[in-house]
């Protein structure tokens, strides 16, 4: 029996090329990716919440994060606030790059993208300084030098010799280092890949690729990714340093 092929008239949106949600294909896919990445970071932060609030003691962020490079003294959360402002500023420069892209000003797009790259690199440098300082104090995947003081509530840094005298069962918040380095590490690697992407886009803009293409939508897509990175930092900052 021969099956008869029926030709359907392609009409309207079945012809293809329509945008049901509004944004173009590339932007929509970037949004889908960002939502999936939000779930990844969400699971990390949820694990942090679950692991932290089942313990009876946790290091006080005002004590742990109180150093500032170059300044000798106790400045709780000062350095991490600087990092937050750097990231917010780089988000602003990114928005301005996209805005200038919409208006077709190639030179302005290049300047604003450069500013964003500098902001991202500055954030990475600050994170590296923070990590190095904490590791020098003894924080690692397997060791947490931030232990309760004599009153059982306040946070004190214990040296390696003191920690060696305590039995493994009595060391508090042993997974603090793991949680901190993994979560900020994942965020930092997203910042790094964002900076790399932006350098590529910057090179394209300098070479005039987007002028030839007629639109700066690639800048917008990378901009979405960069704002997502900023957003994740807002929540990491909240969870690790403020709560």
């Amino acid at each position: 029996m021969s099956a008869e092929l029926v030709e359907f008239e392609h009409e309207g949106s079945w012809k293809g090329g329509s945008k049901p949600f509004g944004p173009s294909y590339g932007k929509l896919m970037m949004w889908f990716f960002l939502v999936s990445d939000a779930f990844t970071f969400g699971t990390f932060l949820i694990a942090y919440g679950g692991l932290r609030f089942t313990q009876d003691w946790w290091p006080d962020p005002a004590e742990v994060f109180s150093s500032f490079p170059g300044i000798d003294g106790h400045l709780p959360l000062a350095f991490v606030t600087l990092m937050t402002f750097i990231l917010i500023a780089s988000s602003y420069t990114m928005v301005m790059a996209v805005y200038e892209g919409h208006h077709g000003n190639r030179k302005s797009v290049i300047w604003w993208l450069l500013a964003t790259v500098v902001g991202g690199a500055a954030f990475l440098g600050c994170q590296a300084i923070e990590w190095t300082h904490l590791m020098h104090q003894g924080l690692s995947f397997w060791n947490n030098p931030f232990q309760p003081g004599a009153d059982g509530i306040s946070t004190v840094v214990r040296s390696a010799e003191e920690l060696a005298t305590v039995s493994a069962h009595d060391i508090k918040a042993i997974n603090f280092g793991q949680l901190f380095f993994v979560i900020t590490g994942f965020h930092g690697s997203h910042v790094l890949s964002g900076v790399v992407l932006m350098i590529i886009i910057l090179a394209n803009a300098v070479g005039g690729t987007y002028e030839r293409r007629g639109h700066y939508e690639m800048v917008e897509k990378v901009g979405l990714y960069w704002h997502f990175v900023d957003l994740v930092w807002v929540f990491v900052f909240l969870v690790f340093y403020l709560i």
């Binding site: 049901p20 939502v35 969400g42 609030f53 805005y99």
Partner: protein, 106 residues
């Protein structure tokens, strides 16, 4: 609505200012209000301020304010499920804290 054609330099700067101010308020509250307020109230305040920042970044910087309503709905519903998950784990986590020291339980 006036802003429906896209962001302007003024609206972008406005959001930048709002984000900076909220961050400063967060920091000031951390120093001043962390001990007077109870842990629950302080945490709620911090989380609400971060959610506020989140809405401004997604709305203005990521252009969500100007997109089609169905698209906003899709993102909002998906992320609401995520927030439910957070609440559920914190709820279950507090139960686990009480029970894990009892002989015979998990």
């Amino acid at each position: 609505m006036a802003g429906d054609h896209g962001p302007t330099k003024k609206s972008i700067l406005r959001v930048l200012g709002i984000l900076a101010i909220i961050t400063i308020i967060e920091l000031a509250s951390f120093y001043v209000l962390r001990d007077p307020l109870g842990k629950g109230l302080f945490n709620t305040m911090m989380i609400s301020m971060s959610l506020l920042k989140c809405f401004y970044i997604v709305g203005e910087f990521m252009h969500m304010k100007y997109e089609f309503k169905q698209f906003v709905f899709y993102t909002l519903v998906t992320v609401t499920l995520l927030f439910w998950f957070v609440g559920a784990i914190l709820w279950e986590g507090s139960w686990w804290n009480g029970v894990r020291f009892i002989e015979g339980y998990i």
